[in-house]
Amino acid sequence: MIEAVTVVDPPTPVEEIALLREVSLRTPGESRVEMCIQCGTCGGSCPSGSAMDHTPRALFAMLRAGMREEVLKSNTPWMCVSCYYCTVRCPQDIHITDVMYTLKNMSLEAKLYNPTAADFSKTFIGMVETFGRGFEIGLAGLQNVRHFITRLPNLAPMAIGFLTKKGMSPIPPKRIKGMNQLKSILKRAKELEIV
């Protein structure tokens, strides 16, 4: 007679595994980040890799090791330009670019983000949430005044070119008609994000 097997609940994941799980769960679709074989194809393909604190491969090793603070402090996700080279080349089909977005979200929550890059995203989206449309001149102006003040003299001829050659308007765009509708959608979306 076969004895009944007692099923024991798995222990609560230790922090090391919890980090990897959290990243994977928060990435849309199946991120497959657990499948990394540390081959380094991602870093070798990355056009902005030279500006990164860690190559994506190293970052994924740190993820597995549960180095939460180091991972979320790394500028690597913020230097990602979303060109998807790593994503299409990864032999394990890991959605690397999407994982980078997840890590950016998490580093903002943990307040460990890269300020120059995060500020740009925030200013951009602040404008979209106000007008419903992007405002390129205003965005570039604000970003450079805040973070690259010494570059402003170099940028002046370009700014003039944008206004004259390209005929861009220095006035913010007109709000879309459905601005209130968009605001309620985004308000609800933000509530759903927390759940």
Binding site: S48, A51, W78, T116, K122, L139, K177, Q181
Partner: protein, 336 residues
């Protein structure tokens, strides 16, 4: 004339007016009717994903919901900006494959009395529609002024062929759609190994030195293969390679001078349109000389309002004031 729903995106009305003008000029002759989505909003580019997940997808999905509402039996949604295109495809793809994400986004849309059924629309980039749906034979029929002798670098950029959720391009790294189209226009298409490399995207605003290096790679490759012009399919690519070419040059002490044109501008020239109707003259690096080589006279870039060029000072530089002060204090010390 078949109708397509059209999502222009913010740049088309701002930095990429030349793209918008030339798109309008070439779509008519090819029988592409563009019906702009009424009251569309920004797609969030690559920035909203960095901040929040559900709001980012909901922002894009409002456009998809509007398109579905206004589709009127049409299925095809055209975008002309690669980033907009990818965002629309990506939202549709993940709403379809990730049911949790899909239902959350629709729950958010419901707060604005909207809904989008994933998979309802076929999201395309204009290049893909021209090459794969209209066909190159139709394009060739329209060519009255072949671009014979113009050496063009086909720069498709990153977000069109990658990650290619809907498998529309011949390759994720070395796609040939743009090459084929330019060849149909009579242009001499150069071998361009960096055709799908990244232009730097938002890097010009967050890490300019990295951006300059990425721009340099593309420009120098085009220069190495003696390109007269680079053809772009995205407002971001055009802006980075064109408007930042000068700054990149001063950063590396180089003298590259390659005009960046939208593929639709080149199509327009081949179709016999006047350069004035195609937004020529709005580029930072003037296309006048390059286009002049094939007998097309494009307008001089507008310089109205630009400050007069500063005359370089001649003779020896003045001594910096700090030294003068220093000396005077020394003297005063000695005197005392």
């Amino acid at each position: 004339m078949s109708d397509y729903i059209y999502y222009p995106g913010c740049s088309m009305d701002s930095s990429a007016k030349a793209y918008q003008e030339s798109v309008e000029a070439v779509c008519g002759p090819l029988g592409i009717g563009l019906k702009e989505i009424d009251d569309w909003n920004c797609c969030g580019a690559t920035e909203y994903f960095s901040l929040d997940l559900i709001p980012a997808y909901s922002l894009i999905a409002r456009n998809l919901a509007l398109a579905e509402e206004q589709a009127n039996g049409n299925k095809n949604l055209i975008a002309t900006c690669s980033a907009c295109y990818l965002n629309l495809v990506k939202a549709d793809h993940y709403m379809h494959t990730d049911k949790v994400l899909g239902s959350k986004v629709n729950e958010a849309l419901a707060a604005g009395s909207m809904h989008y059924t994933p998979g309802k629309l076929a999201i395309r980039h204009l290049l893909d529609v021209v090459v794969n749906e209209i066909g190159l034979d139709k394009v060739k029929e329209r060519v009255v002024k072949p671009l014979t002798g113009l050496r063009v670098a086909p720069y498709i950029g990153c977000m069109l062929p990658r990650p290619d959720y809907t498998a529309r391009y011949s390759d994720t790294e070395y796609p040939n759609e743009l090459d084929d189209l330019l060849r149909a226009l009579g242009a001499e298409v150069i071998y361009f190994p960096l055709k799908s490399h990244c232009c730097g995207g938002h890097m010009t605003q967050i890490g300019p030195d990295t951006a300059f290096e990425m721009i340099r790679r593309i420009i120098s490759a085009a220069d190495q293969f003696n390109a007269d012009v680079i053809a772009a399919v995205c407002p971001m690519c055009q802006m980075n390679l064109d408007a930042f070419q000068g700054q990149m040059n001063s950063h590396f002490k180089t003298k590259y001078n390659i005009p960046i044109l939208y593929f639709t501008q080149l199509m327009g020239i081949a179709f016999g349109e006047t350069p004035e109707n195609l937004g020529f003259g709005s580029e930072f690096v003037s296309a006048r000389e390059a286009m002049g080589r094939i007998g097309v006279e494009t307008p001089e870039p507008t310089t109205q309002g630009a400050p007069p060029k500063r005359v370089k000072p001649t003779g020896l530089p003045m001594p910096p004031p700090l030294i003068e002060e220093h000396q005077s204090t020394d003297q005063s010390k000695e005197a005392s």
